[in-house]
Amino acid sequence: MTYLGNDRSLEKYRRMVRIREFEAVAEAIHAAGEVPGSLHTYTGQEATGVGACIALRNDDYMVGNHRSHGHPIAKGAKLGPLMAELLGKVTGVCKGKGGSMHLSDFSVGSLGETSIVGSGIPVAAGAALGAKLQGTDRVALCFFGDGATNEGAFHEGLNLAAVWKLPAIFLCENNGYAVSTPTSEAVSVPDIADRGKAYGMPSAIVDGQDIDAVEAAVTEAVERARTGGGPTLIEAKTYRFAEHAVNMGRVLRDRGVEVDTWRERDPIHLYRAKLIGDGVAVGTLDGIEQEAKDAVQSALSFARESDYPEQLAAFDDVFVDRLPIPAYLTN
């Protein structure tokens, strides 16, 4: 059940808590050794992802990055295949080929969650170019971090989109750090939004913890993009509550009380309070939370019960046709 038709606010709340719950379980099973590889949680940034995606149509495109758990859930993906992907199962959204950094569900309009910093930006510009050449009014939304704005790919992608007036929305999730490096030590302007000026691109700064604010800013940008007004750069000021990736706390910079300060602006708590203030029954919200817990648990069961891929599947999907299998694997 999704609330989008009836009640947009509840659907926004629902998607945020689904992300939060999904990641809580993901962290737990990662700690237990069930998830291989690294895990970068989105916890704290949910309002940014959901606020942005809720402003899109189902058939709009989206590109994300290594911090990939939030984006697909925000865009409406099913949880089972996402969880199965974390375990490397064949029922995973990427058939077990991608893992935690690449939870990309093309069925909800994703075109990749790419773990090479900045690399999604030209792709999003290209999707917007495609939409334009096809004469559709689809738009492409691109998520990336503050650190990514220092990559050449950011510059080239935004310039292309601006010169060609492409229907793209570039959404920087400025969570204050790139791994251990504070934004201010790596980005030479106070606000990422300032970078729009190099492209003559409209830009906006938005409170990334306030889902309504994010939705409003992205809605405006989507409107502009859909009607031929070209791209927009939006900077959402947000924060990741956990370390860059799990198990990295040991070595990384001590963020001190900053974390607590930001936790006071937990996007889910803020929105819950707001909805209650607007008259939504506490029970409704509790119900949504319970539903999220159940959904994640059943996703976990699905994932656990699923099979691993067969060895020869390693040779599928390099190309449309399967590769020849090396002799040592067939004998």
């Binding site: 495109y61 590109v63 995973g92 959204v93 990427c94 058939k95 077990g96 080929k97 991608g98 690449h102 990309s104 569900d105 093309f106 075109l111 990749g112 790419t114 090479i116 690399s119 930006i121 030209p122 792709v123 999003a124 510009a125 290209g126 999707a127 917007a128 170019l129 495609g130 939409a131 050449l133 096809q134 689809r138 492409a140 050449g152 790919a153 510059h155 080239e156 992608g157 310039n159 292309l160 010169v163 599928d316 999907d317 390099v318 190309f319 449309v320 590769l323």
Partner: protein, 334 residues
């Protein structure tokens, strides 16, 4: 069927496929003004939306071709000179080569990246690269290296229709060479199919790109001396037609690989390794490589040319092999 150049073959392939399929479009730096002659008349025919000049930002527009392909377009990207692929390496290696795999087959990337191997005319080291072997080392990219105008037309048309990303390397030493180009709009040469460019019995030369015409000239000269050389052109590096090579070497027992690229980790080396691994019993002598030595290409016309494979170098290698073999025949095996 009319005789035309390699450059004209590129133009025809692009034009026919753009006429056939509205999803095909072309972009690159200064393609509207058509510096090399591969887009003559295109803006008039297809308009500037489908013949699209780009800013100088190879990583940006090559990456954009990936995005456009994922949403159903079929881009051709003209990167002019292959040295300009380096700024775009991240999009090529991390996005174009890997997206289909990493997303478990969800992505489809039907796109073609064209660039020329611009060597031999005092372009200096930064403009003289022949970098196909580094792309062959990374899975996920099909690669064509046509050596004549007919192959260019058939392979490029097949590449544009292919549902996987294809890199097309255009050897500038072949630009003005001519062949009869079929008019059939469905004339295609399947990717992954090599060709015997000349039959022979004494020795196999496996040559790529601009190495092929030189190998053919060497074979012609050697024929006059009674040495019968078979010349094999794999034509595509990925998928790679190992069988046509092995079949030839099993027949002749001797092999030389010719590759205008730098020697270390070259396609020439790959072919040698493939032969010794799979046709060792047939070999009557070493597999020799005629390549460009591992130095840069200098500007000075006085010293550049001698660095590339040449008819003389190939002939010398053939003598060495045939001679060595005769010696063995005379003395018995050691």
């Amino acid at each position: 069927m009319a005789r035309a150049t390699y450059i004209e073959a590129i133009r025809q392939a692009q034009m026919e496929e753009m006429q056939r399929d509205a999803r095909v479009f072309i972009m690159g730096e200064d393609i509207v003004c058509n510096v090399f002659g591969t887009t003559t008349g295109f803006t008039e025919m297809f308009g500037k939306e489908r013949v699209r000049d780009t800013p100088i930002s190879e990583n940006g527009f090559i990456g954009a071709s990936a995005g456009a392909a994922m949403v159903g377009m079929r881009p051709i990207v003209d990167v002019t000179i292959s040295s300009f692929l380096y700024p775009a390496m991240d999009q090529i290696m991390s996005i174009i080569a890997k997206s289909r795999y990493i997303y478990g087959g969800q992505a489809m990337l039907p796109l073609v990246i064209r660039s020329c191997l611009f060597y031999g005319n005092s372009n200096a080291a930064q403009h003289s690269d022949r970098p196909y072997s580094m792309f062959m080392n990374v899975p996920g990219l099909k690669i064509i290296v046509p050596s004549d105008a007919r192959d260019m037309k058939g392979l490029l048309k097949a590449a544009i229709r292919d549902d996987d990303p294809v890199l097309c390397f255009e050897d500038s030493t072949c630009w003005s060479s001519k062949a009869d180009l079929p008019d059939d709009p469905d004339f295609l040469i399947p990717l992954g199919q090599g060709e015997v460019k000349r039959e022979g019995t004494d020795l196999s030369i496996i040559a790529v790109a601009g190495g092929v015409p030189i190998a053919l000239k060497a074979a012609q000269r050697l024929a006059k001396e009674g040495i019968s050389v078979e010349v094999i052109d794999p034509r595509t590096l990925v998928p790679f037609d190992r069988e046509i090579i092995l079949k030839s070497v099993r027949k002749t027992g001797r092999a030389i690989t010719v590759d205008p690229a730098h020697e270390s980790c070259s396609v020439a080396s790959e072919i040698s390794a493939t032969i010794v691994e799979n046709a060792f019993d047939a070999l009557r002598g070493p597999v020799l490589r005629v390549t460009t030595p591992d130095t840069h290409l200098p500007f000075s016309p006085a010293i550049e040319k001698a660095l590339y494979p040449s008819v003389e170098r190939i002939v010398a290698a053939v003598y060495r092999l045939v001679g060595a073999d005769r010696l063995i025949a005379e003395q018995g095996t050691n």
